[in-house]
């Protein structure tokens, strides 16, 4: 019979970023990362459909997250806008972050 099942359990940290991340708001972003790091998540999922701007200060928080939460951490970015993707590409962060249309 045609039946297939896939299963997994993960600790998932989810962050939704709305608006602009510059060096001021990056501080709040960093605080949330520090708070969530305590939970030792397996995955960090960033919902960024409505993130309109991110500067290097925001990118630094992403690098910090990876360094703080451990190398096993998988980072997903869901629906980034084009300019955000370009910034990730210019700085090579797209090698370490999974850019996806939908988080499954």
């Amino acid at each position: 019979m045609s039946f297939q099942i896939l299963a997994e359990a993960k600790k998932v940290a989810k962050i939704t970023l709305i608006g602009e991340v510059d060096s001021l708001s990056a501080r709040e972003f960093q605080k949330e990362i520090e708070r969530l790091a305590v939970e030792q998540p397996d995955e960090l999922v960033l919902f960024v459909e409505n993130l309109t701007f991110i500067s290097s200060a925001g990118l630094r928080v992403l690098i910090f997250a990876k360094q703080k939460m451990g190398t096993h951490l998988a980072v997903y970015m869901v629906k980034p806008q084009e300019s955000v993707v370009e910034t990730l590409e210019k700085t090579g962060l797209h090698h370490s972050i999974n850019i996806v249309d939908q988080y499954l």
Partner: protein, 141 residues
């Protein structure tokens, strides 16, 4: 030529970006060029505020000067901090950006994104002020 003056604190960044955005739209830069100009301005303004003022224990303003000439939009950030020429810094090389995040130095991306994102970037120290100059060609792309 128009000059706007902002306090040299991080909560000025949104307003400074807004000036860049409006000028970019006014002269008809592409969406991408406008975004990259906004990003460049934000990066350098951040450095002035954080490294030039806050870390040096100084305070001062950040001026945004707007000029359109010879088919170019010229935005200049002026500040009163210690002279600092971003172009004298070694920029991180290609290899930095392909390193896994866990091993990467966490800084150095700001100036790289600035220079990489606009048509021309210049630095001058004139009348005891730093002048970071951002030049965008109008009517391209």
């Amino acid at each position: 030529m128009e000059r706007k003056t902002f306090p040299g604190t991080l909560d000025s960044l949104a307003d400074i970006r807004q000036v860049a955005k409006e000028e970019a739209q006014r002269v008809g830069l592409s969406k991408k060029a406008a975004y990259n100009l906004m990003l460049a301005i934000d990066e350098i303004a951040t450095n002035i505020i954080v490294h030039g003022y806050e870390e040096a224990g100084r305070s001062g303003s950040v001026d945004v000067v707007t000029e359109v000439a010879d088919g170019q939009l010229i935005l200049t950030l002026e500040d009163d901090a210690t002279p600092f020429d971003p172009l004298q810094r070694d920029l991180p090389g290609e290899e930095t950006f392909t390193q896994p995040l866990e091993e990467r130095p966490i800084g150095g991306m700001g100036i790289y994104l600035t220079i990489n994102g606009i048509d021309e970037f210049r630095y001058e120290f004139v009348n005891n002020r730093n002048r970071n100059i951002f030049i965008s060609r109008i009517g391209e792309k």
